[in-house]
């Protein structure tokens, strides 16, 4: 591959690669917080 003449040499901090965890799917889904159940029609919500 032709990329021209060298200009300078630099040092770049190492990249941290994503660590594979066999216990999880390769593409993990963000965890959705559980919502409280909707009150039934006519049901009075409990006071907090």
């Amino acid at each position: 591959m032709q990329i021209g003449e060298p200009l300078r040499t630099i040092v770049v901090e190492p990249l941290e690669l994503p660590v594979s965890d066999p216990r999880r799917d390769p593409i993990s889904q963000p965890e959705v917080p559980k919502s409280e159940p909707e009150p039934e029609p006519g049901q009075v919500p409990a006071s907090r």
């Binding site: 591959m1 032709q2 990329i3 021209g4 003449e5 060298p6 200009l7 300078r8 040499t9 630099i10 040092v11 770049v12 901090e13 190492p14 990249l15 690669l17 994503p18 660590v19 594979s20 799917d25 390769p26 593409i27 889904q29």
Partner: protein, 170 residues
């Protein structure tokens, strides 16, 4: 190693061969998922004048006066102009460690795929074959886009990972 000049990886463009086992450099060297590709220097083993002139320590890769290192271009246009992008699948690559900047590209000590652009006409024909081949790419955890015949992708395009069933990735 001396103190880094940059804390973030350099991003370049390159081309890989997409084989049934995964990605390979155009010279056939395999790139493994979750493992940096670390360059080696073949000039060290050459008994030629070029090899002798370029000789340097294995842990000093790449050298400005040698040709070793993982090659990448600064822009996608250069891959198109040289027709390199037709030799496989192209994409963005993270580069780090010692990096030699050239006028049009980079030679790096370490590299890992950042994003992959699949040509539509390069996809297998059957759904089963697509699933099987895509699994080898998804293992790299790089973003995967489908490119148009000119190699372009929509900036806000969806990745393959957004479009395929979740069980394809397991």
């Amino acid at each position: 190693m001396k103190a880094p000049d940059y804390v973030s990886a350099i991003v370049g463009y390159r081309v890989w061969r997409w084989e049934a086992t995964g990605l390979q450099s155009l010279n056939g060297e395999p790139w493994f998922p979750n493992r940096p590709f670390v360059a080696s220097c073949r000039a060290l083993t050459l008994e030629t004048v070029v090899g002798a002139e370029a000789a340097h320590k294995m842990n000093d890769i790449p050298q400005a006066k040698c040709t070793c290192g993982v090659y990448a271009t600064k822009g996608l246009d250069h891959l198109r102009e040289t027709q390199y992008w037709r030799q496989g699948i192209h994409g963005k690559v993270n580069l780090w460690g010692t990096v030699v900047e050239h006028e049009l590209g980079w030679r790096a000590q370490c590299a890992y795929p950042k994003a992959l652009f699949l040509p539509r006409d390069g996809l297998p024909f059957s759904l089963a074959a697509i699933q099987s081949r895509l699994k080898t790419l998804i293992a790299y955890r790089a973003e995967i886009f489908v490119a148009d015949p000119n190699g372009n992708t929509s900036r806000y395009g969806r990745t393959i990972q957004d479009m395929i069933p979740q069980d394809w990735t397991t």
